[in-house]
Subunit: 327 residues, 4 copies
């Protein structure tokens, strides 16, 4: 391929109350504020040497504006644009200078309708990895992955794997052998993006990497002390899928954030994707606890990159929209 997508790099979320969001993300999750004003906050994790991995924009209503991937260089963007255009998918360029702290960017609605963005340049920032004296809350280290609810997981996977060069680490099949969910990666971990069967296109969650399991426990304690116990939606627990130690939170606007530690190395080309049956109870939560209904049903609406309006959602192609042992 004439381009190299490196990794999930940033999420741009619309929030309705910047002050409330700041409290949650900074004191609760431990993000570092790189810059902020009345209209936006730029946040980065403790090990990140780039300007931000999470951009919160003040808006009338909450939604997910875009999920961004970093590519190797500027020419990769043109090669990517060609892929989309050959497919008849409309692209949008945001020239350098039009967005703060990042270079030229390409936006497009992906095959499932999810708004995605590619860029190669972002301003640098001081890495705080060894400023342990500034660590707070869950001590978020770096962005890890996105998870999107889509109406046709199989179609989404084919596009990302064949056209964009993603590989699959794990996947879930229904009793009829349809792909119900899949975990795809560019950087050699479990995922940069996962797709899950559901009303879509919607952003199910953005996940951030923690340094170790105890950081997640401490995150829970600090969040509860700050009054966010109602924002803890699911976990802590171990995923069967990915083997990660996880926690799902809802931010003050309801955007879902996963805190994540675990993973494994997927760099070998002969690594074989791991298959799970949807009704294997250990798939979702290795320790057996079922996810609450809201975890399956609720997700963030996403924006149309061309109109700036919220995308309409449709029902998924597979009827079974959560494991039977829960229904």
């Amino acid at each position: 391929m004439a381009f190299n997508i490196l990794r999930a790099a940033r999420a741009v979320l619309h929030v309705t109350d910047l002050k409330a969001s700041r409290e949650f993300y900074v004191k609760g999750l431990g993000f570092i504020v790189t810059e902020e004003d009345n209209s936006a906050i730029y946040l980065r994790g403790l090990e990140e040497h780039c300007h931000h991995s999470l951009l919160l924009k003040k808006a009338e209503s909450h939604c997910a504006e875009v999920m961004s991937y970093k590519v190797h260089g500027n020419t990769d963007l043109d090669a990517l644009a060609a892929v989309f255009e050959n497919r008849g998918m409309k692209t949008k360029w945001l020239e350098k200078g039009s967005q703060h702290a990042i270079g030229r960017a390409l936006r497009v609605q992906d095959i499932s309708g999810l708004p995605i963005e590619f860029f190669s340049e972002m301003d640098h920032a001081e890495r705080m990895l060894q400023r342990y004296d500034l660590y707070q809350g869950a001590k978020v280290q770096r962005i890890d992955h996105f998870n999107g609810a889509v109406t046709d997981v199989e179609k989404a996977c084919e596009f990302y794997m064949n056209d964009l060069g993603f590989r699959c680490s794990e996947y879930t099949v229904t009793e009829e052998e349809n792909i119900w969910a899949a975990w795809l990666f560019r950087k050699p971990g479990v995922h940069d993006i996962a797709f899950m069967n559901g009303n879509g296109p919607r952003l199910h969650h953005v996940a951030f990497w923690l340094s170790d399991p105890m950081a997640l426990i401490q995150g829970c304690d600090v969040l509860a002390s700050l009054g966010y116990s109602k924002n803890i939606e699911r976990g802590p627990g171990r995923h069967g899928l990915s083997n990660a130690f996880f926690l799902y939170l809802r931010d003050p606007d309801g955007h879902r954030i996963e805190l994540y530690n675990g993973d494994y190395l997927t760099i070998d080309p002969d690594f074989k994707p791991i298959r799970w049956d949807i009704n294997d109870k250990r798939r979702q939560t290795f320790w057996g606890a079922a996810a609450p209904d809201c975890w399956f049903n609720e997700a963030s609406e996403v924006m149309d990159v061309h109109t700036g309006k919220q995308m309409e959602t449709a029902k998924p192609s597979l009827e079974q929209h959560k494991p039977t042992f829960i229904i």
Copy 2:
């Protein structure tokens, strides 16, 4: 007082399949087997220098035979017997030799009908604390406390505090200011026994102490690997009450076991019991997750120390038998 109750010391449980119980308690929880035969298994935690803290007896049906407390010396037993007899409560002596590995013991049905036992002597066993090469599963260190469901928590507390010398560390009140639950201790931690409003008398759970929070996480992982994910009933989580990091399990017979790490020191006479409102969401689970219904409704039947038959249970005196935010 003419006696000194030291601590919760052992639980005697009836189980229907010793082999299944052994697998769960030894490989899953990490107990050391001190002795075993076709009729019983004597288990101890890794730091325990006494013969056992959990005695599993083979029986036709599962139930809790007795909760035992260690007292300072032999004469304390006589002083205790006098307390019960003055109250008109029938005592039962098991002379030295009648029970394996422990000395003379006094049994009685407590004020709530829970079967309790007092003894001062138990055979010694090698302490395995620094045999880290033998650690398994959740690495249980020692017995910590009992929890009993009783029909009148206030009456139970008055008896244990006034007649037996227990102190209260924390308690929960209903909206009408009735005591719904209480945590009582002799050793200077949060509790040796807790009482909870419910159908009683029943044994709600026996709790064992772990060395650190990660042992609990590893316990979950090992239990799930061994096929016990369905036995994980609640947690891991942080209790608001006691501040402990907890996990509730159901053994193969359904007896509930708590794994417990956290606590604090309560030795000062001027330590003031901590009061919680029953509807404070952080009371039960500091991080906000509600306990499942089975956690409130199910508990082990207990034995009558005189007849050897199961005690009948009665409805609790307080109507509200679980927090309203759950109902």
Copy 3:
């Protein structure tokens, strides 16, 4: 006995720069400041509901003023005074009001010349145990024990055990079967005071309890980030003795502080003290690393409770003042 010593309760240390000490103890170790002015800082751990467990007083030169024990009630103080006076040991009373935040206190130079204090009343303070949002650095939870260098460990032990009611959990003997060090307790853990053969009387260290091993690792990270890597003297490591996970620090004046997690329950009267040979390499550091020379040779000078001057020190009665495998 007509008195009940509950536990090691506070250390009073003289420091030369309150601001420097505050930075170290608050940001590095995570103490809560209860009160402070130009002459003193009163510090408590996160679970402590009493006014302070560490009192730092501004002075011209650093030294240890006194190690304090909390006793059950006011009359215990008189009974204790009688013990000392019957032994011909001069006592000093500090009436209520003469010391901030504590009641009437009895001071005496113990049999080894160490300055000790007994009191039963201290003002209360808010317990911060569940204010995880305020946790900093090593997250000190509570005071645990003192360690004193004395010239005759055997004599010190006999006095504390026979006259004051302490029990022994572990001890170290030389090749000639002399007691080289001993760990004594009142609260049912490994120790409230330990004695070690050396130039004495001196205060070797004050130890504080941490909630879990990861708090110690994080303490190291935060201390290093704040520029205190030179203050980390020994560890982290596991003691063979006590099984604790430990770290030894030197505060800005050179006072030695131990951070401590591990321990085990010693409440049973039939718990048998654990014996170690001085040359067993796993005794000091279970993992094998030797302690640096400064750890053996350096300690805080102590104050004469009557004159307010520093006590003269003498050489120890046993020649072997550290294990041969280190010499």
Copy 4:
């Protein structure tokens, strides 16, 4: 480049007592034995889906036979051979079938004289990542990197970066601005190989990745329980360089093994290598403790890939062979 080196993939070490090595690596470090016979043991970490990452061969004397890298495909091997041959470096082919469990392999003495190997195929093995019931000791997850002592670090770096496509994450300079050590990577972490100024060529250590910091602490405890406290050479501690939580062990033959957890993501092309002064005390051990002399002076001799004899070593080009604050 016409080839893609993926990652450090296996070490082949000669050991004199397979039984002693097996005990250390399996019970102490937690490796899984894939295969073994009288002449060799093939070991893999818990997450590894390939046949082995450590091959121990029975030999008369201990030495390091080769450090192996996995490349993307078979043709990458020919492209690599061309690089070496154009440089006048003699290559050696081991055709498929000549080594157990791996395909065709290319061996060469690198620019510093270190024996290295490249291969693209290895037999698969069951991944044990979620068989927590089989976890032992330090629970080694996967191979991470090699560290070689070489006489000219600058020359080694230039060759690996310019000819083999490695990138630099961190490096250390002397007072004269010479490169004293460097950390180079292919997979996007801190390193696959590090070079350190010293008598060379020698293998300083092979490093294995652990899942979390507590696994390292538990590794120490289990190793000590098994009698390996003398094999713990340095740590646990935090490296300033790489930010990893580390432990250095010596296996029964003296080969040095690092247990490693921490790291960070280096996938961005605009990640700038981090520079350290050799005399910055926090470089080596963030917490301040100096490494012992043996850590600087001792390392495993390496084999000549053509003659099978031990390589002669030479003195390093830079005089300063360890930081001055240690000398």
